[in-house]
């Protein structure tokens, strides 16, 4: 290969689409490194503090598409304080100053300000796609800037962000000349938008294939939009409430018959189940159905709907579907690959909730299942062993028993053997979340069998340091380890400090590690940022008392040393 001109190498590298492949290729030799870096257009940065924008720009001058992740996963569950960090502003500033022709920006768990969005919208003439997932810090004013200034915008995708809604006016900021939209998702916005503006926007976007509306968009508008966009592939309804005897509803029924391309359906943030029959005709085409926000659809109506969705590959629902409902899923959706069952009542004991019965039924009816997120009331070892046998292809297995230390519901034993069966049977398992009564033994199984495991989430499990040690020693491909409320201490933390440089990050909260252990680790490993998050009254802290337990530890590998934007309550050791 070394005797080929650079262009040939570059052409070969073009076929490598995954980041990992390209990363691997760049390590072969300095020639390949050089060719790869000049031809790289898409870069994924899993931790925005692992590298600096300047280094990124220097290495990849041809950058067009950037993905950045900020806060740790546990920020989703309120474990990371609001102003911890993860600001996108320095990235956009640096990119704007450079000659980078940014076209796509994908952010997850970052703090995005209106100022950032404004700067973004003005700095890159060819900007095409903005995807924000679980971000915060901006308002609809920032969206207005994007709409107004990005002349060739194709994709504006807002997923589960906390956005201050100042007004729906932002939608009217798309100029009449903007006809390039392919994907628009504003489902997470809480406020009103101008229906007429929306209809006009859809009418002048012939390439629109994905549209997800927010709660304020009424059924009448949905009908009018669908008339303008019969080629939609992905639809998220807004308010799906109307009088089923009305003319509007009848019009909707007729219109939907023309929407033969819809494969993904979501929304139903407000829903009158009597209006569901309108979507029955397209159910057989659906491959992705997300009803996880549709609290208004109950057991029997849910089942009626799902019975018609024989081709589903991905299903997200609430646990009000019940075990019986899951049996229907199992018998209907034999192509199912991904299932997520969310709790409709996260705090209480749901009468309609799901148990191990539902999961076993699914494992029998859906042999292609490879991704699972399952919130349930209880579990048994026997059920997990059965599931492991029926579905050996799991890549992601996340089980969450709402009462986190609940034992096997029948035998009252720990669930070690059940999860042990999962890791032993599923040789391609990359992501695992455990709950239930669990001892060190489950970690022994994980260390022994979970050879492909990359991400492990643990809470309220284990008896001693041995648990964590099994995992650190056994899981060679581990990248992310997140632990809350487990009795793991300094012994486990310090046993293999070098391991952490092979991982993206480690999170430990409410464990037994102390300040002394963390300081020791920080000293040993200069290329790790060892951050302690301390939210309590600063006056009480005595930084010299190394024996005190650490509430929250977040450590990650980095090439750029301690970050300069850390707030007062974050100590970098």
């Amino acid at each position: 290969m070394n005797y080929f001109p650079d262009e040939v190498l570059e052409h070969v590298f073009d076929f490598l689409t995954s980041h990992r492949d390209r990363n691997a290729v760049s390590l072969v030799c300095s020639l390949w490194y050089r060719v790869e870096r000049f031809s790289r257009q898409r870069v994924f940065i899993g931790n925005c503090y692992a590298i600096s924008p300047e280094k990124l720009i220097k290495r990849f001058p041809g950058l067009k598409s950037l993905t950045l992740k900020g806060k740790h996963h546990f920020a989703d569950f309120n474990l990371v304080p609001y102003d911890w960090g993860g600001y996108v502003q320095p990235w956009i500033e640096a990119l704007a100053k450079s000659r980078i022709g940014l076209e796509e920006l994908r952010l997850k768990r970052m703090v995005v300000s209106d100022e950032s969005l404004e700067l973004l919208s003005r700095s890159f003439a060819n900007f095409k796609a903005l995807v924000l997932v679980s971000c915060e810090g901006f308002t609809t004013d920032g969206l207005a800037a994007i709409a107004a200034n990005c002349r060739f915008l194709r994709e504006l995708d807002l997923q589960e962000n906390e956005i201050d809604d100042h007004s729906g006016h932002w939608l009217s900021c798309f100029p009449d000349s903007c006809t390039s939209l392919t994907s628009l998702n504003f489902a997470c916005l809480k406020g009103e938008i101008n229906s007429a503006s929306l209809e006009r926007l859809v009418a002048r976007s012939p390439n629109l294939r994905s549209l997800r509306l927010n709660r304020s968009v009424p059924l009448e508008t949905l009908q009018k939009i669908l008339v303008q966009a019969p080629l939609l592939v992905d639809l998220g309804t807004g308010s799906y409430v109307h009088d089923p005897d009305s003319e509007t509803y009848n019009k909707l029924k007729t219109t939907i018959l023309t929407c033969k391309s819809i494969r993904n359906l979501s929304g139903f943030l407000e829903v009158d189940p009597r209006c569901l029959p309108a979507i029955f005709p397209i159910c057989l085409n659906l491959t992705y159905l997300n009803l996880s926000y549709a609290a208004g659809i109950h057991g029997s109506e849910l089942i009626k709907l799902i019975r018609r969705c024989a081709k589903l590959q991905r299903l997200w629902i609430l646990d009000c579907i019940g075990d019986k409902g899951l049996e229907v899923v199992a018998s209907t959706c034999n192509e199912l690959q991904e299932l997520r069952v969310f709790p409709s009542d996260p705090l209480g004991i749901g009468h309609d909730a799901v148990t191990e019965y539902g999961l076993v039924a699914i494992s029998i009816g859906c042999p292609k299942l490879h991704s699972l997120l399952y919130f349930c009331q209880q579990m048994t070892n026997a059920a997990l062993i059965t599931v492991a046998r029926n579905c050996p292809n799991f890549i992601r297995f996340r089980l969450c028993i709402l009462d986190p230390t609940k034992p096997d519901a029948v035998t009252m034993q720990p669930l070690d053997d059940g999860f042990g069966a999962i890791v032993q049977s599923c040789k391609f398992l990359r992501r695992l979340s455990l709950t239930g009564l669990l001892t060190d033994q489950v970690f022994r199984y994980i260390g022994m069998y979970a050879e492909q495991l990359e991400m492990l989430s643990v809470a309220f499990a284990g008896n001693s340091d041995k648990g964590m040690l099994y995992v650190l020693n056994g899981c060679k491909k581990l990248r992310k380890l997140e632990i809350m409320d487990c009795p793991f201490g300094n012994g486990a933390l310090l046993s293999d400090a070098g391991k952490y440089e092979t991982m993206r990050s480690l999170w430990m909260s409410s464990c037994e590690i102390t300040l002394s252990g963390c300081k020791t680790l920080a000293k040993m490993m200069p290329r790790l940022n060892v951050e302690i998050i301390n939210e309590h009254d600063q006056m009480e802290i005595c930084p010299e008392d190394d024996g005190q337990r650490v509430g929250k530890l977040y450590l990650y590998r980095t090439l750029v040393g301690p970050r300069k934007d850390a707030p007062e309550f974050v100590w970098n050791l």
Binding site: Y293, P346, T405, P487, S510, E512, G547, Q548
Partner: protein
Amino acid sequence: MESKVAYDNDLNLKATELRLGLPGTDDREEQTLFSARNNKRPLPDTSKECGSKKKSDAQHVDNETAPPTKAQIVGWPPIRSYRKNNLQPKKSDQAEVAGIYVKVSMDGAPYLRKIDLGIYQGYPELLKALESMFKFTIGEYSEREGYKGSEYAPTYEDKDGDWMLVGDVPWDMFMSSCKRLRIMKGSEARGLGCGV
């Protein structure tokens, strides 16, 4: 929520650990500077720790369905706060579908009844149902004079704890603010109708 089982074996660490706090301090009250041993603490302490950032906590406290002994653990269950916050409002949607049950008392009747406000389309239906349930007649409603023509007046207790005359506010507002109904009789009832 009890999770002591997992921690029965960690006494060794505890015995040799340096801690701030007086010797003999009870485990439950022990407060290390950093650590929040959430699994051992009941609700009030835990929810204080994260202060106002946990919107869902405030709702947890108000939620009457959560058994009082269940500890609200920070970060548990592991559901995105966006999802938690967006399901909660729908509880009222669910209530509308599942039934808004309120107690109905009638002066002089030996026991109370319960009705589902959600099944009625408006005031006329509701009043008819009450009339048939308690075997009496309600008079004619007028904004100025309340219920004329009978010695009964239907009243309700609203969210603020005030007793209001049924029919004064729009139906939807009534449905969301009505906590209980009381059919007043006699002089009390007449008092309500007099240009109050």
